[in-house]
Amino acid sequence: MPQASEIAWLIPVFPLIGAVLSGLGLISINEKINNSRRIVSVGLISFVGISAVISYKALIEQINGYESVEKLFIWANAGDFTIPMGFILDPLGSVMLALVTTITLLVMIYSHGYMAHDKGYVRFFTYLALFSSSMMGLIISPNLLEIYVFWELVGMCSYLLVGFWYDRDGAAHAAQKAFVVNRVGDFGLLLGILGLFWATNSFDFNEIATGISQSVSDNSIPIWAALLLCFLVFLGPMAKSAQFPLHVWLPDAMEGPTPISALIHAATMVAAGIFLVARLQPLYSIFPSIQFIIAFVGTITCFLGASIALTQMDLKKGLAYSTVSQLGYMMLAMGCGAPVAGIFHLVTHACFKAMLFLGSGSVIHAMEEVVGHQPILAQDMRLMGGLRKKMPYTSATFLIGCIAISGIPPLAGFWSKDEILGNAFISFPAFWFIGLLTAGMTAFYMFRLYFLTFEGDFRGENKDLQKELLIASKVNLEEENGEEHPEHGYIHESPWSMTFPLVFLAVPSVIIGLMGLPWDSKFSYLLDPEEAEIAVKSFELNEFLPLAIASVFIASAGIFIAYQAYFAKKINLSILFAEKFPTINQFLSNKWYLDAINEKLFVKGSRKLAKEVLEVDSKVVDGIVNLTGLVTLGSGEGLKYFETGRAQFYALIVFGGVILLVAIFGFQSPQVT
């Protein structure tokens, strides 16, 4: 059998085959295939399973020191240009592949339970397979252009999946917003790629880096141009990884089914931006100012996400802003020139955040039995509470996730987050401080989520509260009442297909951090052996401990406050904080007013501009045409002929005219010379 690294190109091919087959089935034999869901889901899971097996084999080969594999072919050419495509498998790629295939598989198993009653079950699995294929393709892309190709494809899958329940207006808007905001980033990415190609005649990551540094040093390219290009390329990751100010799409994207939020909008696709920045490290490390911008954007995002998450009442939105914040940490690591730390956090975060999202899905699934399928009710924590006793697996794994993300040792989040903070402390102390503060906020809001959802008494049967929430969210009550059927369900633990992935993910959430111990990081030995060697040699406990203690302390403080406020109910935060600082509270619950600005400035602005252009087009441009038409023909007989449809007459004119002209010109020598 060939080495898995050599046949890595097959990894995205298998799920693609599956997706194409079931997609064709949906188009041609819709009813039949919708009735044979079991075959489809088992088939697609096996296709992804094959990819997972190859990925893991490749990962093991890479750990054992098998060389990176890169193979290219000419995809398009013209003149002297060739555009190569192909695949690359290196340690970074193999880690990502293992991660993506694992989480995809778990999410697929979970979806079998979660989407059991949905009539779009088969379509959902098809989209999932398509997404996993594109994501794997992105990971094995050997150059910027191919990354761009898959980058767009994962964006498309995200669009399809966010808008999965297309009869909901919210989903429709969110899907479009996600795609368009991402396109804003892609605008920069595309221009950046083109510019880098112009400057270096290559799409290859390393060739670009050496080419740019050479051109800058011999002044064939001005430094500002190089910086501009680097920044333009960075716009892509900013949009994809939801960095400020292009993060606005991610919380809205929670309109999609919860397994999607776990897979695409927490664990894999949003991490693609981080992944691309990691791939571009050879380029970015040349320019400290770009590094600074990346770190800066990361820090703002990190703080912004956490601060908004403080006041969220929607369980999924809370997790979404937490994702934004954690992506900010990863970006901060990239800016500090510590890609390994960033990728490490990506991996740990993928495990526990996927688990948290799947857990929230399990909660929502249970809540829907009581309050109905209105997401405003089913996802609101004011209606939850006391779920721990009824949902033991969900609550236990959710708690593990909360501890992990808060950064309590020895769970996964501690090691990866601390490595980032440690790097930030060396490179940008101010950013370290903000990051530390954010760690405290993270612990607070995560435990706030936990306590509100799983502890205390169940509040879901409170009809007045339900009505109040519906009114507050401006849902048309009359319309809803028409469809409403009173729910008499009760809260219960989800089926095994949903709890199994939760339990499975709890394991890495606890132990995977041990792969990246600062004094013996197996993770960085795999990704960057030289760096790891240096890091291990320079490791000193007296440097590590103060920082670690600081972050553990602040996290514990956050948990303590959350405990006092939401479990013990000893302090009332709304009196203590919200009423004293109403502006800050308003500012946070309005999400820094960024959505409003976006709506006013860009959405309405572009509509207005488009309308004005159309006015000009129909009134001025077309108006002139019609005016001249009227003047010359309006009164004449010509129009009459046309309008009566006597085209023979026209044909006659044309032919007659031609003959006449030819005759005239034929007898004269040309004047034009």
Binding site: L26, I27, I74, A76, N77, A78, G79, F81, I83, Y148, V149, F150, E152, L153, M156, L160, G163, Y166, D167, R168, D169, A171, H173, A175, Q176, F179, V180, R183, F187, L190, L191, L194, F197, W198, S606, R607, L609, A610, K611, V613, L614, D617, V621, D622, V625, G629, F642, G645, A647, Y650, A651, V654, V658, L661, V662, G666, S669, P670, V672, T673
Partner: protein, 546 residues
């Protein structure tokens, strides 16, 4: 006239049957066969439902497609940059008019596109119940006529076929169109016929240039050494004529009207093929025959291309009528063709070529879907639609696929062609760096605008709650197999090209390289007298800039 050719054709065919396939008069056959067959239609017994006529037209269109494929396989060598499959018969020697057809890399893909789209359009015209005989007659005539436009190698003949083409289009618009069809058809004819007078003038001027005996053959004209001023005069005239067809803003206003009123099959032909005549002619005449003037005007083409992209995308966004929305999106996409033609790089120019083929397929598919949707909803106003996707799921899927193709999703042909244009233009040392930066950035704004209008459109038609008014009044049946089949036929090459663009690009690369080399040479020589920049950098090749 046509009998002459038919007899000639048959005698030649019979005479050369043994002489190998490559010597067959493939192109004449593909032109004259559909036109000749069309004249059989009037003799069909008229039952009114047009069933026989439909099948007859479909088989003729398919055979024509096979003939063009045959010509490509048997008589066309992709490595050869010259005109192939040549047939030359003197027609009216006194006027210098010869029946001269042939194909090089620039025409061959478009000929194939024409016969392919026409065959699908015939299938799309299945539900046409009003005067089916006349309808299919016109479609078949159009088929041959359009192939002729791309195949003729004589400028006077080109003008004739260009004009001949207008008649069926005019009638198809005026008889089967929507409410304002008369206005739209009249506008169309006035625009195109009015502007094509420039083609005639330019043809005569060029044909008579420097000789007593006129010669309109492309090969002759290409070797002529026209003076710069003469080239510029001809160039401007031709730019107007072809700019109307492409169309170039602000000569575009006939298009939304014509497209807004046409029925689906006619629509497919308009968007799929007719617009490509403009792009083809710009390449063939402006870029190939008038290289010196092209060196002067190319920056203008780039600017116009960018204007097309942004202006039409914005108007499309504001449009509330589905057909007009898609019509404007066509204009926007044609902007890339302009940029590619003006780019002086073989990558960019092949991108323009590919964009024509790609838009031919994508535009045809979108317009077909518009027609199919209209058949069900009986309205094109976006405000009157909503939540249609719940009843028409397959239709929704097809729409989504085609819209994604149109917004240049990677893996589909539109992405490749736009990428080639972008890359070709950006890496092209002919233009100054600031010019390239500004133009590429502006053109890339289209990358943001296109999904805005296309996805908003999808959202308004298919997403959200069902519009009770619409669902109660209309029977919203999902797509039938015939419709799925048509879209599948179009999506197959769209995705095929997207995955492996060399399938198509290889077929014209040699010709494009040849053309671009010639233009580049002209740029080198024209540096001193550039009317746009006025700069006098003689050593380096950085001529046109504004």
């Amino acid at each position: 006239m046509s009998t002459y050719f038919l007899t000639h054709f048959t005698s030649q065919t019979l005479g050369t049957l043994g002489a190998g396939l490559s010597t067959l008069p493939w192109l004449s056959a593909s032109i004259l066969f559909p036109i000749g067959s069309a004249f059989v239609i009037p003799f069909f017994p008229d039952k009114g439902d047009g069933k026989e006529v439909r099948w007859f037209a479909l088989s003729i269109a398919l055979i024509t497609f096979l003939i063009t494929v045959g010509s490509y396989i048997n008589g066309f060598d992709i490595k050869n940059e010259n005109v192939q499959l040549k047939e030359n018969i003197s027609w009216l020697p006194d006027l210098g008019l010869t029946w001269s057809v042939g194909a090089d890399g620039v025409s061959m893909p478009l000929i194939l596109l024409t016969s392919f789209i026409t065959a699908l359009a015939v299938l799309a015209a299945w539900p046409v119940k009003f005067k089916p005989k006349l309808f299919f007659f016109l479609i078949l005539v159009m088929d041959g006529g359009q192939i002729a436009v791309f195949a003729v190698q004589d400028m006077l003949l080109f003008f004739l076929t260009w004009e001949l083409e207008l008649i069926p289009v005019y009638l198809l618009l005026a008889i089967w169109g929507g409410k304002n069809r008369q206005y739209a058809a009249t506008k169309f004819i006035i625009y195109t016929a009015g502007s094509s007078i420039f083609i005639l003038l330019a043809a005569l001027a060029m044909g008579f240039y420097g000789t007593e005996i006129p010669n309109f053959e492309f090969s002759h004209l290409a070797n002529q050494d026209f003076s710069q001023r003469f080239q510029i005069i001809c160039y401007v005239g031709l730019l107007i004529a072809f700019g109307v067809k492409l169309p170039i803003v602000p000569l575009h206003t006939w298009l939304p009207d014509a497209h807004g009123e046409a029925t689906a099959p006619v629509h497919m032909l308009l968007a799929g093929i007719l617009l490509k005549m403009g792009g083809y002619a710009l390449l063939r005449f402006n870029a190939q025959l008038l290289p010196v003037a092209h060196a002067q005007f190319a920056p203008l083409l780039i600017v116009l291309g960018v204007v097309n992209i942004i202006y039409a995308a914005l108007t499309s966004f504001a449009q509330r009528n589905l057909k007009r929305k898609i019509a404007y999106s066509s204009i926007s996409h044609m902007g890339f063709v302009l940029i590619g033609i003006g780019s002086f790089s073989s990558l960019g120019t092949s991108g323009a070529m590919l964009q024509m083929v790609s838009h031919g397929l994508i535009g045809a598919s979108l317009f077909f879907l518009v027609g199919a949707t209209y058949d069900r909803t009986k309205t094109l106003k976006l405000d009157e639609m909503s939540g249609v996707g719940q009843k028409m799921r397959i239709m929704f899927a097809l729409w989504t696929a085609c819209s994604l193709a149109s917004l240049a999703l990677p893996g589909m042909s539109g992405f490749v062609s736009e990428l080639m244009v972008f890359t070709g233009f950006v890496t092209d040392e002919v233009y100054t760096l600031p010019f390239r930066i500004v133009m590429a950035s502006l053109a890339a704004v289209g990358v943001i605008l296109t999904p805005i209008y296309l996805l908003s459109m999808l959202r308004e038609i298919f997403f959200g709650k069902e519009n009770p008014k619409l669902t109660e009044e209309r029977k919203l049946i999902d797509a039938e197999p015939r419709e799925v089949y048509i879209i599948a036929c179009l999506l197959l090459p769209i995705i095929g090209i997207g995955l492996y663009p060399r399938l198509v690009t290889e077929s014209y690369l040699a010709s494009i390289n040849n053309l671009v080399d010639r233009d580049l040479l002209a740029v080198k020589n024209s540096v001193k007298t550039n009317i746009f920049s006025g700069t006098k950098k003689n050593e380096i090749l950085k001529a046109p800039s504004i």
